[in-house]
Amino acid sequence: METYQPPDGWNALADPTRRAIVECLAQRARPVGEIAEVLPVSRPAVSQHLKVLKAAGLVTDQAAGTRRIYRLNPAGVRALRDQLDTFWSRALAGYQEAAEQSTTEETS
């Protein structure tokens, strides 16, 4: 329906292991080692999956000493905000028209 190309984010979550990683990070931010402990996947495999998720914009990472901490990208909230912003812009434009019309029309 949309004209944009489905970016990597779409495919990134098609993989069940990557969905499990996202779910795991939804609980809290974690380093690679900790994710590998929780999931039945090797550490190098987790790293590979994280790379894909990061490229898709679903996950961000941050150095903390010698480790890298991975967390979900708050873009999710921004996506919702963006929708609501669009919604209210359109609603208020329609509202203005309705309010000014009924002024000229005469009313209750």
């Binding site: 949309e2 190309q5 909230v77 919702l80």
Partner: protein, 160 residues
């Protein structure tokens, strides 16, 4: 963008109408200006009702009589202010848990006798969670993720 900024939508608009009328149009004719694609019913909307009292709802009634109550009226003080909840989840379904809903405050300020400034603030958007809190359900539901990711993907594409 800061986290706080991401969780609030603020809009304002000035209308050439006295404050009483500005308030009345917003509440009584909400369905006339609400974008039409904002519909969680399976059928077209026949009417949108804004119940003018605290504890009332804003709801859509479909052409087949089905109803979708998607907001609770929290404050109703004509002609200055109205606050209602936004009980719509990131999966565009009714959110039953009030703690997971955001709220919309609309303030009406008379600039002159015939002109009103309308300030709208949709806040606590993060209470819905970016979809992650309910991620297990979302993943399980076939419609949840594709729908959500579609929007997510569009945003990312736009930002690039």
């Amino acid at each position: 963008m800061t986290q706080a900024a991401a969780t609030v939508v603020q809009r304002q608009i000035v209308v050439e109408a006295p404050i009483e009328r500005a308030f009345a149009v917003f509440t009584e004719r909400f369905g006339d200006f609400k974008p039409p694609e904002h519909n969680m019913l399976g059928v077209p909307i026949a009417q949108t009702v804004f119940e003018p009292k605290v504890g009332g709802h804003i709801y859509d009634r479909g052409v087949d009589g089905s109803e979708c109550r998607w907001a609770r009226v929290l404050v109703y003080s004509p002609p200055e202010r109205v606050v209602f909840s936004w009980d719509i989840s990131v999966q565009w379904q009714i959110e039953e848990e009030p703690d997971n809903t955001s709220e919309v405050e609309v303030r009406f300020v008379a600039e002159t006798a015939d002109r009103t400034r309308v300030e709208l603030e949709h806040r606590n958007i993060d209470r819905h969670g970016p979809g992650w809190q309910s991620i297990s359900d979302a993943i399980a539901g076939g419609d949840g993720w594709p729908l959500y990711l579609d929007r997510y993907a569009a945003l990312i594409a736009k930002e690039n």
